[in-house]
Symmetry: C2
Subunit: 339 residues, 2 copies
């Protein structure tokens, strides 16, 4: 069966991009958006107001699309996957809102986040509401397997976010710790989102595991790409803007590699910029030079390709259909953003 999938990295022109996925789930996603809009309502006016702000701005609904496409891949019948895809988006949105929370030190640096509009506290509490609402929807659905998949993912995400907080501004972070963080904070939800599609279709554990493995590796690739694009340029409006991670002192793979391969004066540069956040004009440009000198960008791209390949590989055991192809294409699309 392995022959059914080209595990080699495809050339940019070969893949179908994100379009096949978007087309595949278009009508389902409409229903999901209705559920999202309906379930974020509350008599407490600030809740739909703030939730609407971030959910409307949220963009492409990649995670719920993964649930919908996985359900299609597994030939799920009925409507359950619509509400569960909404749960996945609610959990993701809650994470974004809580990620927006800033500390006094960051406020002093004048960071701009969505929370600038509503404040820390409102972001936290509305996030809590969406998170609780997700669990209410899962309880209504009634599957303990789904509840397990998404409560496990939620705990792992929270662990990953705390872990990231601990590695921020710490140049001692190594590649292992970095991968641990992105596996937890990003990939765990991708994995569970896909797994849920197999669960609602009542498929055997092996299929659940295959989709989980696909989602996990895709999620790691996705975050790697996001972190690389933060140094290499505009990503077409799909993510954050260039240089944010550097300014905030986030330790991502390109930096980890350049730091490990740098001499003592280079290491002092990274520590000044990312640990002390003492940055001046020209520092970002210098950082880019160092990243290129040590092949840190190129090797990070290689890593993203590797996890993309693993995601495709995980799909081998699953039936070859339109949904599987769309899920394979979106991995390629993601990795190709780097080129």
């Amino acid at each position: 069966m392995a022959a059914a999938i080209d595990l080699k990295q495809p050339k940019p022109s070969e893949g179908g991009g994100i379009e096949p996925l978007v087309r595949l789930v278009e009508s389902d996603l409409k229903r999901v958006n209705e559920i999202i809009l309906d379930k974020m309502q509350s008599p407490v006016a600030l809740i739909p107001q703030l939730a609407g702000h971030i959910i409307a701005a949220g963009g492409k609904r990649l995670r719920p699309m993964l649930t919908l496409a996985s359900a299609r891949l597994c030939k799920a019948e009925g409507e359950r996957q619509m509400a569960l895809a909404a749960c996945v988006e609610f959990i993701h949105t809650a994470t974004l809102l809580h990620d927006d929370v800033v500390d006094a030190s960051e406020l002093r640096r004048g960071l701009q986040t969505a929370n600038a509009v509503f404040g820390n506290k409102a972001s936290v509490l509305v996030g809590d509401f969406l998170f609780s609402r997700a669990f209410q929807l899962m309880v209504e659905d009634g599957s303990l397997k789904v509840l397990k998949a998404l409560s496990d993912a939620s705990a792992i995400i929270a662990e990953g976010e705390v872990h990231q907080l601990m590695t921020a501004n710490d140049m001692a972070t190594d590649e292992g710790a970095y991968l641990e963080v992105i596996r937890a904070k990003t990939a765990a939800l991708f994995a569970a989102a896909c797994q849920v599609g197999a669960i609602v279709a009542g498929r055997p554990e092996a299929d659940e595991e295959a989709l989980y493995g696909y989602g996990l590796n895709f999620g790691i690739a996705f975050q790697l790409v996001d972190d690389i694009l933060d140094y290499t340029g505009d990503d077409g409006g799909l993510g954050k803007s260039c240089g944010d991670d550097f300014r905030e002192g986030k330790i991502t793979l390109p930096v980890v590699l350049a730091y490990a391969r740098g001499d003592e004066s280079e290491r002092a540069f990274w520590r000044r910029c990312l640990e002390d956040l003492d940055q001046g004009e020209g520092d970002f440009a210098h950082a880019l030079q160092l990243l290129n000198r040590h092949r840190a960008i190129a090797d990070s791209k290689g890593r993203a390709q590797e996890y993309g390949a693993r995601a495709r590989e995980a799909m081998v055991v699953l039936p070859d259909n339109e949904a599987r192809q769309a899920l394979l294409d979106v991995v390629d699309f993601c990795v190709e953003r780097l080129y």
Copy 2:
């Protein structure tokens, strides 16, 4: 059966205080504390560190005690209530951590909270972890009824907290809005904590509802007492210190009543102090005078007694045993703190 409970407000000497409850659940609570300690562990060191900080400081474990006593009242067998009582405490702790989050404006006023030690972001993320962990434990327990009770409570709490945020510093808040807030942010978890005891015992819906009603009314009384004590004095180390609500501009029942009954100059005083947070020496003392002049404290106490009586009344349909008596006593103990 109503004759089995004295629904009149008992004199301070009559009640058994909190002691019967503490004795009743002492050994169960030890087990709950072990579960709490075990389940707050994580390879991410900051999680047990921060969680331990607040859980150790957390004090008396009233909410899990309610679950344990309710389970005993309903003659629950087995051990399920121990893990579920830990869930209740985790949800409560997560709420406390998220309640600690402050906005820039508050930081500027130099507020001291637990979050001063670890920062906003860590408080939020560790709260998320405990909240997710609670759901993992419920999933392990496997009861959709329990999951429904506690996910419903969580959503209501979040709504209540946002509602409170909207009523803060707003003297237009009336008694109805105030009661709505405390019913949601405090009483919903008391209610669910008690209901869970009936669920694990497999009791009929009527018993679940009775315990839910007990918890809801007790929770409202409890919060009313807490809010009154913030103006009338020291509460023996059980809650916050006197004057906090006034300094923060929280709109609680005593203030709502005094404002409604005050003349225009008094209203201007309340608006300056609680809306503009423009407070000077002598303002708190003047506030106390106004509260007493308009019987705002006395009438708030009356309200607390009324909800205490409702809590006792809800118990009438349940069997008269040691656990029921302990739960009745703790209501009296709570209301008697006012005298």
